[in-house]
């Protein structure tokens, strides 16, 4: 990377996240005006957006080529008090917490205390939601049965398709006007609602153009003041770019990136759509601009790379807006979930890998930033060299890019009702969830704690932690005569609790549709303009709700242990096991060891356990899939945890797989930590026994030590492992590489690293079982092999 990029990157990495109070202040001032009482809700939201775009601080950082910040400076993070309002205590926690603190200055706190909190108290979406939920929902929520995504953020992390690269906002305005002209007030009872929504969209289009113009104005001022002729020319060019986009379709590579960035800022300023928004299939979108620039001699590969690097830094400048309440203390790890897709298929089904794909992978490798995240979309049609290029980045141990099975994703999307073209233009976003980019509202509605369902089943519906009734009465577990009876009780609890969650979801969905439309986002997602309906209210072509199951490994191993020891082998009785669980295995260590060491486990290609996993999957699928939401769409399942498996574990007592109370659940669809003892191929085989094609995403994490990935052979092996998993219809896999630091920690605190497996030579072994000399040797080798 050149000097400019290196400097901007360093600034971005060094910048300390802080709370920017500007948006909250502007929003409060706006809502204190008479507009909310005068205008319809969509128009009011559009005017609020316009007010933000007109008044927020314009920030052009020294040396930047792509301009615009969500806050007032890099990592100055806006808040969204109309969705949820931070309390004084939240600000204190955010300021003081160890992980990812957000500085909240005295001035910020004063404004919050004096203006923001007094005005928004009782009026936020978060409060509306909690007021609207029934006791069953509230009890289950408090018990940690599920989480609710919309209690702090609006539905979101949607992905854009290629429309902005073909159309300017002025073109979209024409489309909107056409829709307005065709409203039928005589026959369509929704005509007025549609009119207000469409009027709101027009206002938003103007607002984003104005926002860009303000950047152009600022760039011109800076250009006049600039003495360095080279920078002066750049600033003049920035002004030109910001005048042209987003009003008009982009003419070149630079304008394409800047247009997207304005749209990104617009969407994430209008609301906090689950922290993020994403350009999606960036290599496909940029390819025409890239090749045209090269052909015409107006762009070099180096220039394109520099612009992309500047673009990358913009993402890294935007931390996810920090949360409120309990989660403020806990979830320090969240970043803005933008996931750039690379490769995959073109709309016509051909291999989508192109020169822009490799250009972007170069940028990913060189920038090595947490944000934006990157993925490769792998089809059987994609060349091996593409996977191996990505594998070179993967083995540096940076956790990126993650790897997706495009051929399966297309199947998943088609099963869920998308057209073939829309499916091929789709991909994965956020963690692993799939959607038809630019055409779908696919909403993650919350994580669902699968092992907790079993805990309730084993306590006849009572949460043993609190003594509260959360589930239904499914009978005294000691009287179950067979595993089938137990499983049937589990299924009944599951169905009941899913109903509780869905009832809540369907209300929350209406709350957003009613109070919090997103007219700017609606311009960007087909067919909101054509339908005259909002993104939050049936406007998109497809409307999917996901509920993400968590703890698949734990629930499988727990049920397997019950089946194996209580029913099939009668090693001990249900009563004995329940007593051990209640005691958190204290005084029952040998029983715990039997559960942990002498029980079939998911992740070993052992059908005894894997068949139980299939039953768990099937029950979950049946409970959720294809049920209607309120927007004409359907519910689907996902299996991913982000970091919630830690929280879900903390609300659970001991489990029959030998896990002690409070410890994390298994993560994604990965086996329980350390339960996989047959190597990586067995993990993949077990994981692939699930029917990934009927989900909207599954997450599989694998750990390797760098020796395994060494040399050309290592790349080849990684590629083959990926291809094999995808031949078995796996959805996603990501690789973490164990570093020397981790090994050193394991040496110092072996009890925490019982399950860490390392490659010794031609074979692998538990690291903590090795003698100190050999451990040192492996640490030294690992250090050496940092690629």
């Amino acid at each position: 990377m050149n000097e400019r990029v290196a400097r901007l990157r360093q600034q971005s990495v060094d910048a300390k996240p802080s709370i920017s109070v500007e948006r909250a202040e502007l929003m409060t001032a706006f809502y204190q005006s008479d507009v909310p009482l005068r205008e319809s809700v969509p128009v009011c939201r559009a005017l609020a957006f316009q007010y933000l775009m007109e008044n927020k601080t314009i920030c052009i950082n020294e040396g930047e080529l792509i301009v615009g910040e969500k806050g007032t400076a890099p990592k100055a993070t806006p808040t969204y008090p109309e969705l949820c309002c931070h309390s004084m205590q939240d600000l204190q926690i955010l300021n003081d917490r160890e992980k990812t603190p957000f500085a909240a200055s005295d001035e910020v706190r004063r404004i919050y205390r004096e203006k923001i909190i007094p005005f928004w108290s009782g009026k936020t979406m978060r409060e509306k939601i909690f007021r609207a939920m029934d006791p069953a929902w509230l009890n289950a929520y408090e018990a940690g049965m599920f989480t609710e995504f919309m209690e702090q953020r609006s539905p979101g992390h949607t992905v854009l398709d290629n429309k902005i690269y073909r159309k300017g906002m002025l073109d979209f305005k024409q489309d909107i006007q056409r829709s307005l002209d065709h409203l039928d007030f005589l026959n369509d009872p929704q005509a007025y609602a549609k009119q207000e929504e469409l009027k709101a969209m027009l206002l938003c289009a103007d607002a984003i153009i104005r926002f860009a113009e303000r950047h152009a104005e600022r760039a011109r001022v800076l250009a006049r003041q600039e003495s360095n002729p080279r920078r002066k020319a750049e600033l003049e060019r920035i002004a030109e770019v910001c005048t042209h986009v987003p009003a008009h379709a982009p003419r070149d590579f630079w304008e394409a990136l800047q247009y997207y960035w304005f749209v990104h800022l617009g969407v994430t300023t209008e609301m906090n759509p689950w922290d993020s928004f994403c350009p999606g299939r960036l290599d496909q979108h940029l390819y025409p601009f890239y090749t045209r620039g090269l052909d015409e001699g107006t762009l070099t590969r180096e220039q394109a790379q520099e612009l992309l690097q500047c673009f990358w830094i913009k993402f890294n400048n935007q931390p996810a807006p920090p949360k409120v309440g309990v989660t403020a203390a806990e979830s320090g790890t969240y970043t803005d979930f933008a996931q750039i897709n690379n490769g995959g298929l073109r709309e016509d089904g051909a291999d989508g890998v192109n020169e822009a794909t490799f250009l972007i992978l170069d940028v990913v490798e060189e920038m090595r930033l947490v944000q934006p995240s990157s993925s490769i979309q792998v089809s059987k049609k994609n060349p091996d060299r593409f996977i191996k290029r990505a594998a070179r980045i993967i083995r540096t141990g940076f956790g990126q890019p993650s790897v997706f099975n495009t051929d399966l994703i297309v199947q998943e999307l088609i099963r869920m009702g998308k057209s073939v073209a829309d499916a091929r233009n789709g991909g994965s976003s956020g963690c692993v969830e799939v959607g038809a980019f630019g055409k779908e509202a696919y909403i993650l509605t919350g994580y669902f704690n699968l092992p907790k369902v079993l805990e309730l089943t084993l306590n006849n519906g009572i949460d043993p932690r609190t003594g509260k009734r959360i589930g239904i009465e499914t009978g005294d577990p000691e009287r179950f005569g067979s595993f089938e009876q137990l499983f049937e009780a589990y299924r009944q609890q599951l169905n009941y609790l899913i109903d509780v969650k869905m009832r809540g979801n369907n209300i929350i969905e209406r709350l957003y549709a009613t109070y919090m439309p997103a007219p700017f986002l609606s311009i960007l997602i087909d067919d909101c303009i054509a339908r005259g309906q909002d993104y939050h209210d049936s406007g998109p072509r497809y409307n999917t709700n996901y509920i993400q199951g968590v703890g698949l490994g734990t629930i499988t191993d727990a049920l397997t242990a019950l089946k194996y020891h209580v029913f099939d082998h009668k090693t001990f009785s249900m009563g004995q096991l329940l007593a051990a669980l209640r005691a958190n295995f204290e005084g029952h260590e040998s029983l715990r060891q039997t559960l942990w060491q002498r029980t079939p486990k998911y992740g070993n290609d052992d059908d005894y356990a894997d068949d139980v996993m299939r039953s768990v999957f099937e029950a979950y699928f049946q409970a959720v899939d294809d049920r209607p939401n309120t927007k004409g769409g359907r519910y689907r399942i996902n299996l991913l945890p982000t970091t919630v498996h830690v929280y879900f574990g903390s609300v659970m007592g001991a489990t029959p797989d030998g896990r002690k109370a409070g410890l994390p659940l298994s993560e994604g669809i990965s086996p329980v930590q350390g339960a996989d003892r047959q190597g990586p191929t067995a993990v993949l085989k077990s994981a692939a026994k699930m029917d990934h094609g009927r989900t909207g995403g599954t997450l599989l994490n694998m750990k390797f030590n760098p020796q395994v990935l060494e040399g050309e052979d290592g790349l080849e092996n990684l590629k083959d492992l990926i291809r094999s998993y995808f031949r078995l219809d796996g959805h996603h896999i990501q690789f973490n590489v164990v570093d020397a630091e981790t090994l050193r920690k394991a040496q110092a605190r072996p009890e925490e690293y019982q399950n860490l497996i390392v490659r010794v030579a031609g074979y692998s072994d538990y690291f903590v079982d090795l003698g100190k000399d050999l451990q040192n040797e492996i640490i030294a080798r690992t250090e050496q092999k940092a690629f």
Binding site: E589, E716, L728, L774
Partner: protein, 278 residues
């Protein structure tokens, strides 16, 4: 697939648990929680408590496995088990999707697979029928008759040459290299493909004279193009410590990357394709 039992006693062996052609008790001290259940339960009273933890008397132990079942911590295990060709094939078939993708297959290793020729042949035949590629990783210490029978059935032989000097070989492995070299020559003539593997054990076989003799011998085979050199590692010492029966292995230094690269270059000079590791 590892066969248990080996006619050689290589002093640097990294799989000492596969020397004995019988199941034997193993023990991982790092896992032991000192609960004493193995001592209580052993019907032969073969386990007693020493300062370092429970110790099994190999003379008394009948490998009944009672202590393994009793050990909740998973510190005790029986290394090796009697199995059937059907069971082994079931395991082999589990990975077919990976073989199909990578062009790989099953490797029969050990120990010494040729010590159980009938079992090996049965497995090789079944694999051939099912189209699963096979490799036999062998010391080549077997009768010429066994070599003749196995040669046409496997897809690949990985043959070790540990030292070219007969005396040195005998001193460090317990057997001479005459029969081994003859068998390698026979396989080179009769088998589909042979790859030579040379463990690089500093102080034993890493001198230029021996490497040169090795290279010349392999050149003389005509059909062999690839030599893999495997750096000595100390995993064997580790594993030997987990066995009940005492095994004394030599201590050598792990060769450095530059040493390995130097040897690889040297062998490439003879026209071989050379891989480090493998």
């Amino acid at each position: 697939m590892f066969f248990k039992g080996c006619p050689l006693r290589c002093q640097w062996c990294h799989n000492p648990e596969s020397w004995k052609p019988l199941p034997e008790p193993g023990f991982r001290p790092s896992r032991c929680v000192r609960c004493g259940r193995c001592i209580e339960i052993c019907p032969q009273n073969a386990v007693s408590l020493a300062e370092t933890g429970p110790v099994t008397d190999p003379q008394k132990c009948t490998v009944c496995g009672e202590c393994v079942t009793a050990c909740a911590a998973g510190a005790r295990e029986i290394i090796g088990r009697r199995t059937t060709a059907a069971e082994v094939m079931a395991e082999a078939r589990k990975d077919v999707v990976f073989y199909d993708q990578s062009g790989g297959g099953v490797t029969f290793s050990g120990g010494e697979p040729l010590m159980q020729p009938e079992f090996l042949l049965a497995l090789l035949e079944t694999c051939r029928t099912e189209g699963i590629r096979t490799a036999v990783d062998t010391t080549c210490y077997a009768t010429p008759e066994v070599i003749q029978r196995v040669a046409p059935v496997a897809d690949l032989f990985l043959c070790d040459i540990k030292h070219m000097n007969r005396e040195r070989h005998e001193e460090y492995t317990g057997v001479g290299n005459g029969r081994i070299l003859e068998n390698i020559a026979a396989l080179a003539r009769a088998a589909k493909e042979v790859i030579i593997r040379v463990p690089i054990v500093p102080g034993f076989n890493d001198d230029r004279a021996n490497l040169e003799a090795t290279a010349r011998f392999v050149q003389g085979l005509k059909t062999v193009r690839r030599i893999d050199i495997l750096p000595y590692n100390r995993g064997g010492l580790e594993k030997a410590g987990r066995l009940t029966g005492r095994i004394d292995l030599m201590q050598a230094q792990t060769p450095s990357d530059s040493t390995m690269n130097g040897i690889a270059e040297f062998l490439r000079g003879y026209g071989f394709e050379v891989k480090i590791g493998g």
